[in-house]
């Protein structure tokens, strides 16, 4: 455990932050620019995971286990969310026979 922490700490924290921000941004851009719902779900997952990584790194640097516990929480919730999301997606496919998000724009104004 100890050495893992030290191993993690070899890389300076800034790098982790930078990486995570990059990942997060990639996910965000994916959400913004992709039309396909599957991909959007994946981008969301990407964002969540970048958060996971960030929290893990922080917890290592702060040598505070709470962060890693939190990571597990996030995973579980993410899983649940994706499950729901996919089911909604299936329902939608059944109704409009497509997974393009912008097909759904009847509710407006």
């Amino acid at each position: 455990m100890k050495d893992i922490t030290s191993a993690i700490q070899i890389i300076p924290l800034e790098h982790y932050i930078l990486l995570c921000v990059t990942l997060f941004s990639i996910g965000l851009l994916g959400i913004l620019f992709r039309r396909n719902t599957i991909i959007i779900l994946m981008s969301i997952e990407l964002m969540l995971n970048s958060v996971n990584l960030l929290v893990a790194a922080f917890s290592a640097y702060h040598s505070d286990p709470a962060g890693q516990v939190f990571v597990f929480f996030i995973m579980i919730v993410a899983a649940a969310e994706v499950a729901v999301g996919l089911s909604i997606l299936v329902m939608m496919k059944r109704n409009v026979d497509s997974v393009d998000i912008n097909l759904l724009n009847r509710l407006k104004w």
């Binding site: 995570c20 969301i44 960030l54 505070d64 939608m92 109704n95 409009v96 009847r106």
Partner: protein, 458 residues
């Protein structure tokens, strides 16, 4: 805590009751169960208690809000009896999901740790995604749930990122510690911490549909099954503000000035967009959605004025607002049935001629939403304005008042429709005893809480 656990168990029980064919027992059972948990939660009134390594702090604040939400949920369930009679067949899940959502709200009112806040929000949100899509084969319901889901999970991601940043800065999830940590900078916070806090706030602001993160709410309100809309408009909003206040008011007071400024901007936008959006609205559910946004603006005003009685004002406001909203939704459903599925405002036409007493109650509730004495809506607005002006926030209060005037316009537009004669007479509107009772009780409550205004010191 016992109330907490009991409610979870209740949810599971109701879920399993779904196997029994007889669905008319569901509503009584879940309502009854909620009454029990109401009693249970009232039992620990007065003394604080901490659970799970102090991650949950149950105090009068949380109990008060829990009780108010439980009451509202009970009312909704009673309405659900009639509503689901006619609509769906697999309704046990829906009851159960609502109960689960309720437990999520309990977390949101009583967290003292960001993890718990996160869990609460998710436990509330995920059932809502499903509930919003409750009508499996309805396109609109689909769209609602889908939009809600995409944007909700996006907001969650932002929220989490904020938590991560704050955690990175302060190395803790506990609000008190974060508070002390912030305090040591006396104003000059490091950007990471600031951005983190901002993201957290945004995550919550999304739930209470504060502009510019309100986009989901009109569409979802319109698309979702009316019952769910009612649930969202009342319980979810209450929970959102409880969390908001617990986060900002109790957790982070005094707010960092930048965050406060950002929140001011949000309040301003919320008031503006909410009222203006509702102005020319022809669909009643959307109208209520926008008005909900507008009310969020007022509530944020109450939160931001950071007065010691802000919490109780929030409680009063959210409670009477929910109390006035539910009968409106019920009447809306009745009118909708009477005019084969239309959702426009003009389904209220001729209501005064047809069922004048229902019309009168509808008017009372609309007046309460518009904030006209002696209804409780007025008292709530009065208190909020008092907090704001007392804080010295004069210009924003003036702005809020101007917006309130606009609000009066669109609510009274509905009243005007009520008094307009409708051309062709369609199917007669029939009201079940239970619904009538609900409408009357809520309206009486609206009036009573207005005339005898109360405040629970929390």
């Amino acid at each position: 805590m016992s109330a907490f656990i009991f409610t979870v168990v209740l949810g599971i029980i109701v879920l399993y009751l779904g196997f029994s064919k007889n669905k008319s027992i569901l509503s009584p059972i879940s309502a009854g169960g909620l009454v029990v948990s109401l009693v249970l939660s009232l039992k620990d009134w007065g003394h604080q208690s901490k659970y799970f390594h102090d991650m949950i702090l149950i105090d009068n604040f949380s109990i008060a809000f829990n009780v108010s939400m439980i009451i509202i949920t009970i009312l909704i369930f009673l309405f659900a009896l009639d509503y689901y009679e006619t609509m769906e067949n697999h309704v046990a899940e829906l009851y159960a999901l609502m109960i689960f959502g309720l437990t999520g709200t309990f977390l949101m009112t009583s967290f003292s740790n960001l993890i718990m806040l996160f869990l609460g929000i998710e436990i509330l949100s995920i059932p809502l995604y499903i509930l919003a899509g409750g009508k499996k084969y309805s396109y609109r319901s689909n769209e609602a749930s889908f939009k809600y889901f995409i944007m909700g999970s996006f907001a969650t991601a932002i929220f989490l990122f904020g938590i991560a940043l704050v955690y990175g800065a302060s190395a803790t999830f506990y609000l008190p510690e974060i508070k002390t940590f912030i305090a040591q900078f006396n104003g000059h916070l490091p950007p990471m911490l600031l951005v983190g806090l901002l993201f957290i706030v945004i995550g919550v602001a999304f739930k209470i549909a504060a502009a510019p993160f309100h986009f989901w709410s009109p569409d979802v309100y319109e698309g979702a099954p009316t019952l769910v809309t009612a649930f969202m408009a009342t319980v979810v909003k209450t929970a959102g503000f409880a969390a908001f206040y617990r986060l900002l008011g109790i957790g982070l007071l005094p707010l960092p000035v930048q965050i406060e400024k950002a929140l001011w901007v949000m309040t301003f936008l919320t008031l503006l967009i909410g009222n203006l959006g509702a102005l020319r609205q022809s669909n009643f559910k959307r109208l209520l959605a926008y008005s909900a946004i507008a009310h969020s603006g007022f509530l944020m005003l109450a939160v931001l004025s950071q007065h010691e009685s802000s919490a109780s004002v929030l409680l009063y406001y959210t409670f009477v607002y929910s109390l006035a909203t539910i009968p409106l939704f019920i009447i809306f459903i009745l009118a909708k049935r009477a005019s084969d599925g239309l959702e426009e405002i003009l389904i209220f036409r001729g209501l005064y001629k047809e069922k004048s007493w229902i019309a009168i109650f509808a008017i009372i509730n609309l007046m309460s939403l518009a904030g006209i004495p002696p209804t409780s809506g007025f008292m709530a607005k009065y208190q909020v304005l008092f907090l704001a002006i007392n804080k010295g926030i004069l210009l924003t209060s003036i702005f809020a008042i101007v917006m309130a005037i606009i609000g009066v316009y669109y609510y009274f537009f509905v009243i005007r429709e009520i008094f307009t004669e409708r051309g062709q007479t369609t199917t007669k509107m029939e009201v079940t005893k239970l619904n009538a009772a609900l409408i009357i009780i809520c309206s009486i409550g609206v009036l009573a809480t207005g005339i005898f205004m109360w405040q629970i010191p929390i």
